[in-house]
Symmetry: C2
Subunit: 497 residues, 2 copies
């Protein structure tokens, strides 16, 4: 039987495998605060790479970063709550602003006149500012973004995927016309798609949510949906067209070029640290994480073999020289990120550590390699025992091609997995129901739907939702997979995270 | 009388001038939440530049970024509080995790078993993790950093300088030896100095705090102290050697190479959004902000003059071409950040806007310039009416030199101001007291001090503190400026922010 670096395989128990990878790759851990995680250096470095890529695209599309307070007055939430039913109410509430000592214990003191909520999202806070900042059509479009933390009290937390506190960006824009706001919504979904597919190598399906799955108060919610290796879908980014709903609640008005006062059209869109979870469940294997090169904090790790003390110095120098040469090469318009691991551990142990952490290329370099001008490389997109000896010069010369091949390979694997887990041949509810009741065989079902909201009730017992109405529509007619009625809408169903 | 872009001059009222600059440069504003600010795009872009520079140096010195929860269990605070008296207790306390509707109002519900505090700083949280992560000397040094928000309830908030919520980085490290931890403390203070002087062009004095001014629980606190134009000092970064105090409270122990169990030595160090305030008060003038080029979000702004519709297209094209040429040049190892302002406003209005925002170089380009191959430039380090015509090619060729001259000029001005506001000729308490009682004439006093903590009491009524014992010591003997006793320690006194 083949041994794997992760104690439990994906097949044995996917949920446990996931937690094991998070632990073994040293990405994050639970803190003493229920539902809140500590993101450890390797996990945070991955998040920083995702963040940088996303931030570049957010800026390139004309958005400006700002920062709004983490506290939202309860009255502002109230305003939206009056407007939007279904507003999530599981939030952290600040009621006091002092601790005092009482009988040797610290207890809350100095109650606030009115409680504050830790932002679950900032539409209310930012809407209030927009109302102050916007008075004329010349102030529009107003396109801003914020990086920060947000809190939604989670009853069933799961590292990266559902945490009480999470890190994210939330974009908020206001426009003079409906058309422009809708275009913005689509543009930002494309940005998410580019980060997911281009950088993270996660294939996604873009589409619109049904009314029942919309962000509360939105006129339309768009999302990218990814397929995980256990057959569950994961929403990897959402973009909301809010119409005039939030601008009416927050009084965001402007004078148009004819001097008429109008409500602005607003949008909001966000992506969070759950993307790290998506990457693990898309690319991970039974040896741990596999990182797409654009996201990997180190793209190459070099392990000098220094068992022979006489040769140690020259081997270490050679490893450093190789690292410097690699750092002079470019991949995806950035210098190659190379690291020499000099810790006092056995090479085998270090190799396994980096395999579990998902580094795309691991190079081992010993005294014999030095003489031969070679290194032994392990490609993380291939099985772990498939090591190769390669000349140092060819390695340096071809490192960009190798990384390119690796990211192509990861995307290819993920695409094949997504396709294998997409059924397009299920046309009636009996088959649909059997499919989703069979735990072994979950995934996407792409089938016709009538568009009747009432029919979605049939999905509840199956634990299935409509993930989206994909933009890509066949235009054919058929029968609704839920009701058997005539239907034309190609619709994506799945269980989801 | 000369007119200025800021409605109130520094001389008339420095505090009001400061707020006016923040408003006119569109850096930040108060939010509806007491003490919490909204950082607007220009202010946030400045912060991002400071942050990037600091982050680079933090990483270059071997620290890894992480993220710890924003919530700290009250029990952890209690642990420190037991250990450290004088722990600040003005904090935001979360007591509930739900809002429910009652009589049409949202009210807190679902009380927590035990309240949570929003982090005022993360020693407690990170100490607990360190205790779990460290078991052997091989795990040391452990050097991490966190970027995030923190909250300390402020009774007298002031934009950027003192806000209830602020953004910052907090570094936390653990070491096997006292020497190594002390070295780390000094290294990080040097990093702050490099960012302050090298990038922000703010001259600072590095030194150690007296015991009464230490971070609660620290064995030593080191700081960089800057002088503002109103004669008040501003602490621009602090680095604490925590000895074994926090490791004893949090139980951070390791087995040394002899197999003996020891407590680790820890450090912490932080710098925050108040640095933006320091920059305003160091470099600003009566026309607004003056930004050092390494920090300026745009280093050059180009204003095309398009009054003549027939020439508009060619002027705009030329402006864009100039911007692209400038962006091909490098300053301080980065492409020059150039921006063409195409908004429909008068050139005069746009020029004043960028002057107030502090852009180092403003270029105006009209049809006549186009023919002559010139632009008209305004250098923000000079008086506003000192405009110059310069050839486009020489401008592109010398832009790095110009920016270098500007940053040199800003640093020179700031250094001259700091020196003019430093008195080294005050030797007895009568003169000392007169000096600080005269509101017009505040600044640094560098004088001898005996080192007797009791003597600091004499400073309280004057509103003065010992800012630091500078590292640079003359080694001479003299008389203590507070007590008249023999004294050798050169000491820096000032009123402060």
């Amino acid at each position: 039987m083949k041994k794997h670096a992760i104690g439990i395989t994906r097949e044995e128990n996917f949920a446990d495998w996931y937690l094991e990878v998070v632990r073994e790759a040293d990405l994050a851990e639970h803190s003493g605060v229920r539902g809140c995680m500590i993101i450890k250096p390797w996990g945070y470095a991955i998040w920083e790479r995702i963040q940088r890529k996303l931030d570049e695209l957010i800026k390139a599309t004309g958005h400006l970063n700002c920062y709004f307070p983490v506290f939202i007055p309860i009255e502002l939430i109230q305003k939206e709550a009056g407007h939007v039913s279904g507003f999530a109410k599981e939030m952290a509430v600040v009621t006091h602003h002092r601790l005092i000592e009482q009988d040797g214990h610290l207890v809350p003191a100095a109650p606030l006149d009115s409680p504050l909520v830790i932002r679950p999202t900032s539409e209310t806070m930012i809407g209030e500012a927009f109302a102050r900042w916007i008075s004329s059509y010349r102030d529009l479009p107003l396109k801003i973004n914020q990086w920060g933390n947000a809190v939604r009290w989670e009853m069933r937390p799961r590292l990266f995927l559902r945490t009480t506190e999470f890190l994210w960006q939330e974009g908020h824009t206001a426009h003079a016309t409906r058309e422009e706001a809708i275009e913005e919504t689509h543009q930002m979904l494309s940005v998410y798609r580019e980060v997911a597919e281009g950088a993270m190598k996660i294939p996604v399906i873009s589409g619109e949510k049904t009314p029942s799955e919309r962000f509360p108060g939105a006129d339309a919610t768009h999302a990218i949906e990814a397929m995980m290796q256990d057959g569950r879908a994961l929403q990897a980014g959402t973009s909301h067209f809010l119409g005039q709903n939030f601008s009416r609640a927050a009084n965001i008005r402007f004078q148009d070029s004819n001097g008429e006062t109008q409500f602005a059209y607003t949008t909001s869109w966000g992506a969070s640290t759950r993307l790290v979870g998506a990457m693990i469940m898309t690319h991970g294997d039974d040896d741990g994480l596999r990182l797409p090169p654009r996201i990997a904090p180190y793209q190459v790790v070099i392990l000098p073999i220094v068992r022979d003390p006489a040769a140690a110095d020259s081997v270490i120098s050679a490893a450093r020289a190789l690292s410097a040469q690699l750092a002079n090469r470019h991949f995806a318009d950035e210098p190659v990120r190379s690291h020499v691991d000099l810790r006092e551990e056995s090479v085998a142990r270090k190799r396994w550590e980096w395999i579990k952490k998902g580094v795309p290329l691991i190079c081992e370099l010993g005294p014999r390699d030095l003489q031969a001008g070679t290194v032994e490389i392990t490609r993380r997109d291939r099985v772990y025992d498939n090591r190769n000896t390669i000349g140092t010069e060819p390695l340096v010369g071809s490192v960009a091609d190798l990384l390119s091949e690796i990211e192509g390979g990861l995307f290819g694997d993920a695409r094949a997995m997504q396709q294998a887990k997409t059924r397009t041949d299920i046309h009636d509810f009996a088959d649909f129901s059997d499919y989703f009741k069979n735990e072994e065989e979950s995934g996407f079902v792409l089938a016709k739907w009538s568009g009747d909201p009432a029919s979605e009730a049939k999905l509840v017992d199956l634990g299935v939702t409509i993930r989206c109405i994909p933009y890509e529509q066949s235009g054919t007619a058929g029968r609704c997979v839920l009701t058997g009625k005539p239907a034309t809408i190609d619709t994506l169903f799945a269980k989801s995270y």
